[in-house]
Protein backbone atom coordinates (compact mmCIF):
# COMPACT_ATOMS: atom_id res chain seq x y z
CA UNK A 1 0.00 0.00 0.00
CA UNK A 2 1.41 3.36 -0.97
CA UNK A 3 2.04 5.49 2.10
CA UNK A 4 3.77 8.85 1.97
CA UNK A 5 5.07 9.84 5.39
CA UNK A 6 4.66 13.49 4.53
CA UNK A 7 3.75 14.14 0.87
CA UNK A 8 7.39 14.57 -0.09
CA UNK A 9 7.86 15.69 -3.68
CA UNK A 10 11.42 15.26 -5.03
CA UNK A 11 10.87 18.23 -7.35
CA UNK A 12 10.21 20.60 -4.49
CA UNK A 13 12.57 23.38 -5.69
CA UNK A 14 14.02 24.15 -2.26
CA UNK A 15 17.78 24.55 -1.57
CA UNK A 16 18.01 21.17 0.13
CA UNK A 17 15.96 17.98 0.41
CA UNK A 18 16.67 17.81 4.15
CA UNK A 19 18.17 20.30 6.57
CA UNK A 20 19.31 18.79 9.87
CA UNK A 21 19.35 21.33 12.67
CA UNK A 22 22.09 20.33 15.11
CA UNK A 23 25.38 18.52 14.43
CA UNK A 24 25.46 16.21 17.44
CA UNK A 25 25.08 12.46 17.83
CA UNK A 26 21.62 12.39 16.25
CA UNK A 27 22.13 15.08 13.65
CA UNK A 28 25.38 13.72 12.23
CA UNK A 29 24.03 10.16 12.10
CA UNK A 30 20.82 11.19 10.31
CA UNK A 31 22.55 13.52 7.86
CA UNK A 32 25.22 11.02 6.79
CA UNK A 33 22.65 8.26 6.33
CA UNK A 34 20.29 10.53 4.41
CA UNK A 35 23.05 11.73 2.09
CA UNK A 36 24.11 8.11 1.46
CA UNK A 37 20.51 7.30 0.51
CA UNK A 38 20.49 9.99 -2.15
CA UNK A 39 19.11 13.10 -0.45
CA UNK A 40 20.78 16.52 -0.75
CA UNK A 41 21.49 17.30 2.91
CA UNK A 42 22.78 20.22 4.95
CA UNK A 43 23.70 20.19 8.65
CA UNK A 44 23.37 23.34 10.69
CA UNK A 45 25.60 23.41 13.77
CA UNK A 46 26.31 26.42 15.93
CA UNK A 47 27.32 26.49 19.57
CA UNK A 48 25.98 29.37 21.64
CA UNK A 49 28.68 30.12 24.25
CA UNK A 50 27.79 29.10 27.80
CA UNK A 51 27.16 31.88 30.35
CA UNK A 52 30.81 31.40 31.40
CA UNK A 53 31.92 31.80 27.78
CA UNK A 54 32.70 28.19 26.92
CA UNK A 55 32.29 27.09 23.33
CA UNK A 56 33.26 24.14 21.15
CA UNK A 57 33.30 22.60 17.67
CA UNK A 58 31.24 20.20 15.55
CA UNK A 59 29.97 17.01 17.18
CA UNK A 60 27.41 18.02 19.77
CA UNK A 61 27.19 17.42 23.50
CA UNK A 62 28.55 13.86 23.64
CA UNK A 63 31.80 14.60 21.85
CA UNK A 64 32.52 18.01 23.37
CA UNK A 65 30.97 18.34 26.83
CA UNK A 66 29.45 14.96 27.61
CA UNK A 67 30.23 11.27 27.21
CA UNK A 68 33.74 11.59 25.78
CA UNK A 69 35.47 14.00 28.19
CA UNK A 70 33.43 12.52 31.07
CA UNK A 71 34.65 8.97 30.38
CA UNK A 72 38.25 10.09 29.96
CA UNK A 73 38.18 11.96 33.27
CA UNK A 74 36.44 9.04 34.98
CA UNK A 75 39.26 6.84 33.68
CA UNK A 76 41.89 9.34 34.87
CA UNK A 77 40.41 9.15 38.35
CA UNK A 78 40.34 5.33 38.29
CA UNK A 79 44.01 5.30 37.29
CA UNK A 80 44.74 7.32 40.41
CA UNK A 81 42.85 4.82 42.53
CA UNK A 82 44.71 1.92 40.92
CA UNK A 83 48.03 3.67 41.47
CA UNK A 84 47.25 4.01 45.17
CA UNK A 85 46.14 0.38 45.42
CA UNK A 86 49.20 -0.87 43.56
CA UNK A 87 51.34 -1.11 46.71
CA UNK A 88 49.23 -4.03 47.97
CA UNK A 89 50.06 -5.80 44.74
CA UNK A 90 53.80 -5.32 45.18
CA UNK A 91 54.49 -2.08 43.33
CA UNK A 92 56.83 0.12 45.27
CA UNK A 93 55.91 3.79 45.38
CA UNK A 94 56.19 6.33 48.14
CA UNK A 95 52.42 6.88 48.06
CA UNK A 96 52.95 10.40 46.83
CA UNK A 97 51.05 10.38 43.55
CA UNK A 98 50.13 13.87 42.40
CA UNK A 99 47.63 14.79 39.69
CA UNK A 100 48.02 17.73 37.31
CA UNK A 101 44.62 19.00 36.10
CA UNK A 102 46.05 21.06 33.22
CA UNK A 103 47.77 18.05 31.63
CA UNK A 104 44.55 16.02 31.76
CA UNK A 105 42.44 18.89 30.46
CA UNK A 106 44.85 19.68 27.59
CA UNK A 107 45.08 16.06 26.47
CA UNK A 108 41.32 15.57 26.64
CA UNK A 109 40.73 18.79 24.67
CA UNK A 110 43.32 17.81 22.03
CA UNK A 111 41.43 14.56 21.50
CA UNK A 112 38.09 16.37 21.26
CA UNK A 113 39.44 18.83 18.69
CA UNK A 114 40.69 15.86 16.68
CA UNK A 115 37.15 14.50 16.72
CA UNK A 116 35.71 17.89 15.64
CA UNK A 117 38.09 17.86 12.69
CA UNK A 118 37.29 14.25 11.88
CA UNK A 119 33.56 14.99 11.70
CA UNK A 120 34.14 17.96 9.38
CA UNK A 121 36.19 15.77 7.07
CA UNK A 122 33.59 12.99 7.22
CA UNK A 123 30.72 15.31 6.28
CA UNK A 124 32.77 16.75 3.45
CA UNK A 125 33.63 13.27 2.14
CA UNK A 126 29.99 12.15 2.32
CA UNK A 127 28.87 15.26 0.46
CA UNK A 128 26.88 16.77 3.34
CA UNK A 129 26.98 20.58 3.49
CA UNK A 130 28.10 21.80 6.91
CA UNK A 131 26.79 25.24 7.83
CA UNK A 132 28.26 26.80 10.97
CA UNK A 133 25.33 29.15 11.64
CA UNK A 134 22.42 29.52 14.06
CA UNK A 135 19.02 28.94 12.48
CA UNK A 136 15.43 29.87 13.20
CA UNK A 137 12.24 29.20 11.28
CA UNK A 138 10.77 32.12 9.33
CA UNK A 139 8.39 30.01 7.28
CA UNK A 140 7.29 26.37 6.99
CA UNK A 141 10.26 25.59 4.75
CA UNK A 142 12.57 28.51 5.42
CA UNK A 143 15.28 29.11 7.99
CA UNK A 144 17.00 32.40 8.68
CA UNK A 145 20.59 31.59 9.57
CA UNK A 146 23.16 33.86 11.20
CA UNK A 147 26.92 33.34 11.53
CA UNK A 148 29.15 34.36 14.42
CA UNK A 149 29.80 37.75 12.81
CA UNK A 150 26.07 38.46 12.65
CA UNK A 151 25.65 38.07 8.88
CA UNK A 152 22.25 36.58 7.95
CA UNK A 153 21.06 34.41 5.11
CA UNK A 154 18.00 32.33 4.25
CA UNK A 155 18.06 28.64 3.35
CA UNK A 156 15.17 26.32 2.55
CA UNK A 157 14.36 22.62 2.56
CA UNK A 158 11.52 20.22 1.88
CA UNK A 159 12.08 18.44 5.22
CA UNK A 160 13.72 19.27 8.53
CA UNK A 161 15.16 17.09 11.27
CA UNK A 162 15.48 18.95 14.55
CA UNK A 163 18.37 17.55 16.60
CA UNK A 164 19.36 20.50 18.78
CA UNK A 165 19.64 18.57 22.02
CA UNK A 166 19.73 20.45 25.31
CA UNK A 167 21.89 22.63 27.55
CA UNK A 168 22.43 22.54 31.33
CA UNK A 169 20.30 24.78 33.56
CA UNK A 170 21.74 27.17 36.13
CA UNK A 171 20.63 27.41 39.77
CA UNK A 172 17.64 29.71 40.28
CA UNK A 173 18.85 31.04 43.64
CA UNK A 174 20.54 34.47 43.89
CA UNK A 175 24.11 34.22 42.59
CA UNK A 176 23.23 31.32 40.29
CA UNK A 177 25.24 32.97 37.52
CA UNK A 178 28.46 32.17 39.44
CA UNK A 179 27.98 28.46 38.88
CA UNK A 180 29.70 26.57 36.10
CA UNK A 181 28.11 23.56 34.40
CA UNK A 182 29.28 20.52 32.47
CA UNK A 183 29.56 22.93 29.51
CA UNK A 184 32.53 24.51 31.27
CA UNK A 185 34.04 21.81 33.51
CA UNK A 186 35.97 19.81 30.93
CA UNK A 187 37.82 22.84 29.62
CA UNK A 188 38.42 24.63 32.94
CA UNK A 189 41.83 26.31 32.74
CA UNK A 190 42.67 25.69 36.38
CA UNK A 191 41.81 22.79 38.68
CA UNK A 192 38.23 23.02 40.05
CA UNK A 193 39.69 22.81 43.55
CA UNK A 194 37.25 22.58 46.44
CA UNK A 195 33.94 22.05 44.68
CA UNK A 196 30.26 22.32 45.51
CA UNK A 197 28.15 20.14 43.21
CA UNK A 198 24.47 21.05 43.06
CA UNK A 199 22.33 18.14 41.94
CA UNK A 200 22.27 14.36 42.32
CA UNK A 201 21.54 12.94 38.90
CA UNK A 202 24.15 11.04 36.93
CA UNK A 203 25.98 14.16 35.68
CA UNK A 204 26.33 15.53 39.22
CA UNK A 205 27.55 12.26 40.74
CA UNK A 206 29.88 11.32 37.89
CA UNK A 207 31.57 14.73 38.12
CA UNK A 208 31.64 14.71 41.93
CA UNK A 209 33.18 11.25 41.73
CA UNK A 210 36.08 12.06 39.44
CA UNK A 211 36.84 15.45 40.98
CA UNK A 212 37.10 13.67 44.35
CA UNK A 213 39.38 10.92 43.07
CA UNK A 214 41.61 13.24 41.06
CA UNK A 215 42.34 14.74 44.48
CA UNK A 216 41.52 18.25 43.24
CA UNK A 217 39.88 19.30 46.50
CA UNK A 218 37.04 18.42 48.86
CA UNK A 219 33.72 17.83 47.12
CA UNK A 220 30.32 18.50 48.68
CA UNK A 221 27.17 17.40 46.84
CA UNK A 222 23.86 19.10 47.58
CA UNK A 223 21.13 16.49 47.05
CA UNK A 224 17.60 17.92 46.91
CA UNK A 225 15.73 14.63 47.48
CA UNK A 226 17.65 11.46 46.66
CA UNK A 227 20.70 10.45 44.61
CA UNK A 228 20.18 9.03 41.10
CA UNK A 229 16.40 9.21 41.18
CA UNK A 230 14.89 6.69 38.79
CA UNK A 231 17.63 4.10 39.28
CA UNK A 232 17.25 0.97 41.45
CA UNK A 233 17.61 2.01 45.11
CA UNK A 234 19.69 -0.96 46.32
CA UNK A 235 22.18 -0.40 43.49
CA UNK A 236 22.37 3.35 44.07
CA UNK A 237 23.06 2.76 47.78
CA UNK A 238 26.27 0.88 46.91
CA UNK A 239 27.38 3.62 44.51
CA UNK A 240 26.82 6.30 47.15
CA UNK A 241 28.51 4.21 49.89
CA UNK A 242 31.64 3.99 47.77
CA UNK A 243 31.61 7.71 47.02
CA UNK A 244 31.32 8.46 50.74
CA UNK A 245 34.17 6.11 51.63
CA UNK A 246 36.31 7.91 49.04
CA UNK A 247 35.68 11.22 50.75
CA UNK A 248 32.80 12.79 48.80
CA UNK A 249 30.46 14.61 51.18
CA UNK A 250 26.77 14.24 50.29
CA UNK A 251 24.24 16.43 52.07
CA UNK A 252 20.72 15.02 51.60
CA UNK A 253 17.62 17.18 51.49
CA UNK A 254 19.15 20.59 50.77
CA UNK A 255 19.18 23.10 47.96
CA UNK A 256 21.36 26.21 47.64
CA UNK A 257 19.62 29.42 48.70
CA UNK A 258 22.44 31.82 47.89
CA UNK A 259 25.78 31.88 46.08
CA UNK A 260 28.04 34.81 46.94
CA UNK A 261 31.29 35.63 45.18
CA UNK A 262 34.17 36.42 47.52
CA UNK A 263 37.40 37.78 46.08
CA UNK A 264 40.21 36.31 48.14
CA UNK A 265 43.42 38.01 47.04
CA UNK A 266 43.94 37.06 43.40
CA UNK A 267 41.43 34.25 43.36
CA UNK A 268 37.64 34.12 43.37
CA UNK A 269 35.81 31.91 45.81
CA UNK A 270 32.11 31.32 46.39
CA UNK A 271 30.15 31.14 49.61
CA UNK A 272 27.20 28.77 49.16
CA UNK A 273 24.37 28.93 51.69
CA UNK A 274 22.15 25.86 51.98
CA UNK A 275 18.44 25.63 52.75
CA UNK A 276 19.28 24.11 56.15
CA UNK A 277 21.08 27.29 57.16
CA UNK A 278 24.62 25.94 56.86
CA UNK A 279 27.16 27.33 54.42
CA UNK A 280 30.67 26.75 53.13
CA UNK A 281 33.23 28.41 50.87
CA UNK A 282 34.29 26.79 47.58
CA UNK A 283 36.66 27.40 44.67
CA UNK A 284 34.07 26.15 42.20
CA UNK A 285 30.31 25.72 42.18
CA UNK A 286 29.15 23.15 39.62
CA UNK A 287 25.46 23.06 38.82
CA UNK A 288 24.16 19.75 37.46
CA UNK A 289 20.47 19.82 38.28
CA UNK A 290 19.17 19.03 34.82
CA UNK A 291 19.08 20.00 31.17
CA UNK A 292 16.60 21.99 29.11
CA UNK A 293 15.87 21.43 25.41
CA UNK A 294 17.59 24.06 23.26
CA UNK A 295 14.44 25.10 21.38
CA UNK A 296 14.02 28.68 22.65
CA UNK A 297 15.39 30.49 19.61
CA UNK A 298 14.14 28.14 16.89
CA UNK A 299 10.77 29.87 16.60
CA UNK A 300 8.92 26.55 16.53
CA UNK A 301 5.78 28.13 17.96
CA UNK A 302 5.28 30.03 14.72
CA UNK A 303 4.81 26.70 12.95
CA UNK A 304 2.46 25.32 15.59
CA UNK A 305 4.78 22.50 16.61
CA UNK A 306 3.55 20.68 19.71
CA UNK A 307 5.94 21.04 22.63
CA UNK A 308 6.09 20.03 26.27
CA UNK A 309 6.10 23.45 27.89
CA UNK A 310 7.67 22.22 31.12
CA UNK A 311 10.96 21.16 29.54
CA UNK A 312 10.89 22.79 26.10
CA UNK A 313 11.05 19.39 24.41
CA UNK A 314 9.32 18.49 21.16
CA UNK A 315 6.49 15.98 21.09
CA UNK A 316 7.02 13.42 18.35
CA UNK A 317 5.63 10.04 17.33
CA UNK A 318 8.14 7.86 15.52
CA UNK A 319 10.30 10.98 15.37
CA UNK A 320 7.66 12.94 13.43
CA UNK A 321 6.18 16.12 14.92
CA UNK A 322 2.58 17.22 14.38
CA UNK A 323 3.86 19.16 11.35
CA UNK A 324 4.41 16.31 8.86
CA UNK A 325 7.58 17.54 7.12
CA UNK A 326 9.31 18.39 10.41
CA UNK A 327 10.99 15.59 12.39
CA UNK A 328 12.93 15.45 15.67
CA UNK A 329 15.52 13.09 17.16
CA UNK A 330 17.76 12.86 20.19
CA UNK A 331 17.60 14.71 23.53
CA UNK A 332 15.18 17.31 22.13
CA UNK A 333 12.40 14.71 21.85
CA UNK A 334 10.06 14.41 24.84
CA UNK A 335 9.82 11.14 26.72
CA UNK A 336 12.80 9.34 25.22
CA UNK A 337 16.10 8.33 26.91
CA UNK A 338 18.73 11.08 26.64
CA UNK A 339 21.49 8.82 25.31
CA UNK A 340 23.88 9.17 22.38
CA UNK A 341 23.32 5.67 20.96
CA UNK A 342 19.55 6.27 21.06
CA UNK A 343 19.92 9.45 19.01
CA UNK A 344 22.30 7.75 16.56
CA UNK A 345 19.99 4.80 15.95
CA UNK A 346 16.83 6.89 15.76
CA UNK A 347 18.56 9.18 13.24
CA UNK A 348 19.66 6.32 11.02
CA UNK A 349 16.27 4.60 11.04
CA UNK A 350 14.47 7.87 10.36
CA UNK A 351 16.69 8.60 7.36
CA UNK A 352 15.93 5.12 6.02
CA UNK A 353 12.17 5.60 6.42
CA UNK A 354 12.34 9.00 4.73
CA UNK A 355 14.01 7.42 1.73
CA UNK A 356 11.58 4.55 1.45
CA UNK A 357 9.32 6.64 -0.74
CA UNK A 358 12.22 7.85 -2.91
CA UNK A 359 11.83 5.27 -5.62
CA UNK A 360 12.35 5.63 -9.34
CA UNK A 361 8.98 4.17 -10.26
CA UNK A 362 7.32 6.36 -7.61
CA UNK A 363 6.10 3.31 -5.72
CA UNK A 364 6.55 3.24 -1.97
CA UNK A 365 7.76 0.06 -0.36
CA UNK A 366 6.11 -0.91 2.91
CA UNK A 367 7.89 -0.04 6.12
CA UNK A 368 8.43 -2.89 8.56
CA UNK A 369 8.10 -2.85 12.34
CA UNK A 370 11.84 -3.12 12.95
CA UNK A 371 12.37 0.00 10.88
CA UNK A 372 11.03 2.01 13.80
CA UNK A 373 13.13 2.90 16.83
CA UNK A 374 12.47 0.66 19.84
CA UNK A 375 13.01 2.74 22.96
CA UNK A 376 12.57 -0.19 25.34
CA UNK A 377 15.12 -2.37 27.11
CA UNK A 378 18.03 -0.04 26.50
CA UNK A 379 21.12 -0.65 28.64
CA UNK A 380 22.91 2.28 30.17
CA UNK A 381 25.68 2.93 32.66
CA UNK A 382 26.41 5.64 35.17
CA UNK A 383 30.17 6.21 35.31
CA UNK A 384 30.44 7.01 38.98
CA UNK A 385 33.67 5.74 40.63
CA UNK A 386 31.80 2.49 41.32
CA UNK A 387 29.97 2.10 38.01
CA UNK A 388 26.25 1.35 37.78
CA UNK A 389 25.05 -0.81 34.89
CA UNK A 390 21.34 -1.28 34.25
CA UNK A 391 18.88 -2.64 31.69
CA UNK A 392 15.14 -3.03 32.05
CA UNK A 393 12.95 -2.22 35.05
CA UNK A 394 14.19 -1.26 38.49
CA UNK A 395 12.70 -3.11 41.45
CA UNK A 396 10.52 -0.06 42.21
CA UNK A 397 9.23 0.07 38.61
CA UNK A 398 8.65 -3.71 38.57
CA UNK A 399 6.62 -3.55 41.79
CA UNK A 400 4.52 -0.73 40.37
CA UNK A 401 3.92 -2.51 37.07
CA UNK A 402 3.33 -6.11 38.25
CA UNK A 403 2.74 -5.97 42.01
CA UNK A 404 5.29 -7.11 44.58
CA UNK A 405 3.81 -10.59 44.89
CA UNK A 406 4.21 -11.22 41.16
CA UNK A 407 7.94 -10.63 40.90
CA UNK A 408 11.03 -12.33 42.27
CA UNK A 409 14.22 -10.42 43.05
CA UNK A 410 17.58 -12.22 43.03
CA UNK A 411 20.40 -10.48 44.84
CA UNK A 412 24.08 -10.75 45.72
CA UNK A 413 26.39 -8.44 47.68
CA UNK A 414 29.97 -9.32 46.74
CA UNK A 415 33.63 -8.32 46.61
CA UNK A 416 35.44 -8.53 43.25
CA UNK A 417 38.55 -10.71 43.49
CA UNK A 418 40.81 -7.75 42.66
CA UNK A 419 39.55 -5.92 45.74
CA UNK A 420 40.33 -8.72 48.18
CA UNK A 421 43.95 -7.65 48.69
CA UNK A 422 42.86 -4.09 49.42
CA UNK A 423 41.48 -2.82 52.68
CA UNK A 424 38.13 -1.71 51.26
CA UNK A 425 34.66 -2.24 52.69
CA UNK A 426 33.60 -5.86 52.27
CA UNK A 427 30.93 -6.72 49.73
CA UNK A 428 30.81 -3.18 48.37
CA UNK A 429 29.39 -4.40 45.05
CA UNK A 430 25.89 -5.64 44.20
CA UNK A 431 24.14 -7.57 41.42
CA UNK A 432 20.37 -7.92 41.00
CA UNK A 433 18.01 -9.71 38.62
CA UNK A 434 14.25 -9.16 38.60
CA UNK A 435 11.88 -11.70 37.05
CA UNK A 436 8.13 -12.09 36.69
CA UNK A 437 7.18 -15.08 38.90
CA UNK A 438 4.69 -16.60 36.48
CA UNK A 439 7.17 -17.33 33.69
CA UNK A 440 10.62 -16.49 35.16
CA UNK A 441 11.22 -13.97 32.38
CA UNK A 442 13.88 -11.40 33.20
CA UNK A 443 12.50 -7.88 33.33
CA UNK A 444 15.46 -6.09 34.91
CA UNK A 445 19.20 -6.55 35.48
CA UNK A 446 21.38 -4.22 37.55
CA UNK A 447 24.92 -4.15 38.83
CA UNK A 448 27.17 -1.78 40.78
CA UNK A 449 30.78 -2.82 40.29
CA UNK A 450 33.98 -1.94 38.45
CA UNK A 451 33.51 -2.10 34.66
CA UNK A 452 29.71 -2.24 34.93
CA UNK A 453 29.49 -0.55 31.53
CA UNK A 454 31.40 -3.33 29.82
CA UNK A 455 29.47 -5.98 31.74
CA UNK A 456 25.87 -4.97 31.12
CA UNK A 457 25.92 -4.59 27.30
CA UNK A 458 25.74 -8.29 26.43
CA UNK A 459 22.82 -8.89 28.79
CA UNK A 460 20.74 -6.24 26.99
CA UNK A 461 21.10 -8.21 23.74
CA UNK A 462 19.75 -11.28 25.57
CA UNK A 463 16.91 -9.37 27.22
CA UNK A 464 15.70 -7.98 23.91
CA UNK A 465 15.46 -11.54 22.63
CA UNK A 466 13.40 -12.66 25.63
CA UNK A 467 15.81 -13.72 28.38
CA UNK A 468 14.59 -16.17 31.01
CA UNK A 469 16.13 -16.72 34.46
CA UNK A 470 16.78 -20.36 33.52
CA UNK A 471 18.84 -19.22 30.52
CA UNK A 472 21.11 -17.39 32.92
CA UNK A 473 21.33 -20.31 35.34
CA UNK A 474 22.14 -22.66 32.44
CA UNK A 475 25.00 -20.42 31.28
CA UNK A 476 28.47 -21.41 32.41
CA UNK A 477 30.15 -18.42 34.01
CA UNK A 478 33.65 -17.11 33.35
CA UNK A 479 35.75 -17.37 36.50
CA UNK A 480 37.06 -15.31 38.18
CA UNK A 481 35.10 -12.28 36.97
CA UNK A 482 32.48 -9.89 38.22
CA UNK A 483 30.07 -10.59 35.39
CA UNK A 484 29.71 -14.25 36.43
CA UNK A 485 27.70 -12.99 39.41
CA UNK A 486 24.82 -12.36 37.00
CA UNK A 487 24.68 -16.00 35.88
CA UNK A 488 25.03 -17.43 39.39
CA UNK A 489 22.45 -15.43 41.36
CA UNK A 490 20.29 -17.81 43.38
CA UNK A 491 19.36 -16.04 46.60
CA UNK A 492 16.03 -14.20 46.49
CA UNK A 493 14.99 -11.23 48.59
CA UNK A 494 11.79 -13.04 49.52
CA UNK A 495 13.69 -16.02 51.01
CA UNK A 496 15.09 -13.78 53.71
CA UNK A 497 18.50 -15.44 53.35
CA UNK A 498 21.65 -13.36 53.64
CA UNK A 499 22.75 -12.25 50.18
CA UNK A 500 26.27 -11.38 51.30
CA UNK A 501 29.04 -13.45 49.80
CA UNK A 502 31.58 -15.01 52.10
CA UNK A 503 34.50 -17.06 50.82
CA UNK A 504 34.84 -18.58 47.32
Amino acid sequence: EIKNIDDYNPNHGFDYDIIVIGGGSGGLSASKEAQKLGFRVAVLDFVKPSPQGSTWGLGGTCVNVGCIPKKLMHHAALLGEHAHHATEFGWKNDGNIVHDWETLKDNVQDHIKGLNFGYKVQLRDEGVTYINKLGKFIGPNQLEVVDKKGRTDVISAARFIIAVGGRPVLPDCPGGEHAITSDDLFMLKKSPGKTCVIGAGYVALECAGFITNLKQGDVTVLVRSKPLRGFDRDIVDKVVDTMKSQGTNLIIGVTPTNIEKITNGDKDQFKVTYSNGESDIFDTVLCATGRKADTDKLNLESLGIEMNNKNGKIIATNEQTNVPHIYAIGDVVDNTPELTPVAIMAGKLLAKRLSSNLNKDNVTTTINAHDYMNYNTIATTVFTPLELGTVGLTEEQAIEKYGEENIEVYLSHFTPLEHTLLHLDENNCIAKIIVTKADNNVIGMHIASPNAGEIIQGYSVAMRKGLNYNDLQNTVGIHPTVTEELVTLTITKSSGKDANKSGC
Binding site: I112, K113, G114, F117, D125
Partner: protein
Amino acid sequence: MTEIVYVKNKDEFKEKVLEKSKTSPVILDFYADWCPPCRKLGETLTEKVKSSNGWTVVKVNVDDEDVGEIAEDHEVQGIPAVFYYEGGEKKDNFVGFNAAKLDEFINKAASAGK
Protein backbone atom coordinates in the same frame (compact mmCIF):
# COMPACT_ATOMS: atom_id res chain seq x y z
CA MET B 1 68.25 32.37 8.60
CA THR B 2 65.06 31.00 7.02
CA GLU B 3 61.90 30.83 9.07
CA ILE B 4 58.59 29.01 8.67
CA VAL B 5 55.97 30.81 6.57
CA TYR B 6 52.30 30.65 7.58
CA VAL B 7 49.62 30.87 4.89
CA LYS B 8 46.13 32.01 5.92
CA ASN B 9 44.16 32.21 2.66
CA LYS B 10 44.09 31.32 -1.04
CA ASP B 11 45.90 34.48 -2.20
CA GLU B 12 48.79 33.86 0.18
CA PHE B 13 48.82 30.20 -0.91
CA LYS B 14 49.10 31.20 -4.56
CA GLU B 15 51.99 33.54 -3.83
CA LYS B 16 53.96 31.57 -1.23
CA VAL B 17 53.46 28.03 -2.56
CA LEU B 18 52.43 27.93 -6.23
CA GLU B 19 54.51 30.92 -7.43
CA LYS B 20 57.42 30.50 -5.00
CA SER B 21 57.91 26.81 -5.85
CA LYS B 22 58.64 27.84 -9.45
CA THR B 23 61.96 29.25 -8.25
CA SER B 24 62.73 27.00 -5.25
CA PRO B 25 61.03 23.98 -3.62
CA VAL B 26 58.36 24.44 -0.98
CA ILE B 27 57.50 21.88 1.70
CA LEU B 28 53.82 22.42 2.57
CA ASP B 29 52.58 21.18 5.97
CA PHE B 30 48.89 21.00 6.95
CA TYR B 31 48.70 20.88 10.76
CA ALA B 32 46.59 21.69 13.83
CA ASP B 33 47.42 22.86 17.36
CA TRP B 34 45.73 19.88 18.96
CA CYS B 35 47.64 17.27 16.96
CA PRO B 36 50.70 15.80 18.79
CA PRO B 37 52.44 14.28 15.70
CA CYS B 38 51.97 17.67 13.99
CA ARG B 39 53.88 19.29 16.84
CA LYS B 40 56.74 16.81 16.47
CA LEU B 41 56.90 17.35 12.72
CA GLY B 42 56.72 21.10 13.18
CA GLU B 43 59.67 21.05 15.60
CA THR B 44 61.78 19.07 13.11
CA LEU B 45 60.90 21.41 10.23
CA THR B 46 61.65 24.53 12.28
CA GLU B 47 65.11 23.15 13.07
CA LYS B 48 65.95 21.98 9.55
CA VAL B 49 64.75 25.07 7.68
CA LYS B 50 67.26 27.22 9.62
CA SER B 51 70.06 25.93 7.40
CA SER B 52 68.06 26.05 4.17
CA ASN B 53 69.80 26.98 0.93
CA GLY B 54 66.70 28.49 -0.57
CA TRP B 55 63.87 26.04 0.00
CA THR B 56 61.02 27.12 2.27
CA VAL B 57 58.46 25.59 4.60
CA VAL B 58 54.86 26.77 4.45
CA LYS B 59 52.42 25.72 7.20
CA VAL B 60 48.63 25.82 6.98
CA ASN B 61 46.52 25.50 10.14
CA VAL B 62 43.46 23.42 9.16
CA ASP B 63 41.35 25.18 11.81
CA ASP B 64 41.90 28.63 10.25
CA GLU B 65 38.77 30.19 8.75
CA ASP B 66 39.81 30.80 5.16
CA VAL B 67 41.89 27.72 4.39
CA GLY B 68 39.03 25.22 3.97
CA GLU B 69 39.22 25.19 0.17
CA ILE B 70 43.01 24.79 0.15
CA ALA B 71 42.71 21.76 2.44
CA GLU B 72 39.89 20.34 0.32
CA ASP B 73 41.88 20.78 -2.89
CA HIS B 74 44.66 18.75 -1.29
CA GLU B 75 42.10 16.17 -0.02
CA VAL B 76 43.41 16.53 3.51
CA GLN B 77 41.86 13.84 5.69
CA GLY B 78 44.49 13.03 8.30
CA ILE B 79 47.18 15.33 9.62
CA PRO B 80 50.02 16.16 9.48
CA ALA B 81 49.67 16.13 5.69
CA VAL B 82 52.92 17.14 3.97
CA PHE B 83 53.35 18.02 0.28
CA TYR B 84 56.49 18.62 -1.83
CA TYR B 85 55.99 21.47 -4.31
CA GLU B 86 58.35 22.14 -7.19
CA GLY B 87 57.81 24.14 -10.38
CA GLY B 88 54.37 25.23 -9.29
CA GLU B 89 53.10 21.63 -8.86
CA LYS B 90 52.84 19.08 -6.08
CA LYS B 91 55.21 16.21 -6.76
CA ASP B 92 54.93 14.04 -3.67
CA ASN B 93 53.17 13.80 -0.31
CA PHE B 94 52.83 11.81 2.91
CA VAL B 95 50.56 11.69 5.95
CA GLY B 96 51.56 11.38 9.61
CA PHE B 97 54.93 11.85 11.28
CA ASN B 98 57.02 9.87 8.78
CA ALA B 99 60.63 10.68 9.65
CA ALA B 100 62.08 8.85 6.64
CA LYS B 101 59.81 10.60 4.13
CA LEU B 102 60.48 13.95 5.79
CA ASP B 103 64.26 13.45 5.42
CA GLU B 104 63.71 12.52 1.77
CA PHE B 105 61.78 15.77 1.16
CA ILE B 106 64.40 17.88 2.89
CA ASN B 107 67.29 16.27 1.00
CA LYS B 108 65.45 16.67 -2.32
CA ALA B 109 64.76 20.34 -1.53
CA ALA B 110 68.37 20.99 -0.50
CA SER B 111 69.86 19.35 -3.60
CA ALA B 112 67.51 21.29 -5.89
CA GLY B 113 69.18 24.48 -4.70
CA LYS B 114 72.67 23.34 -5.68
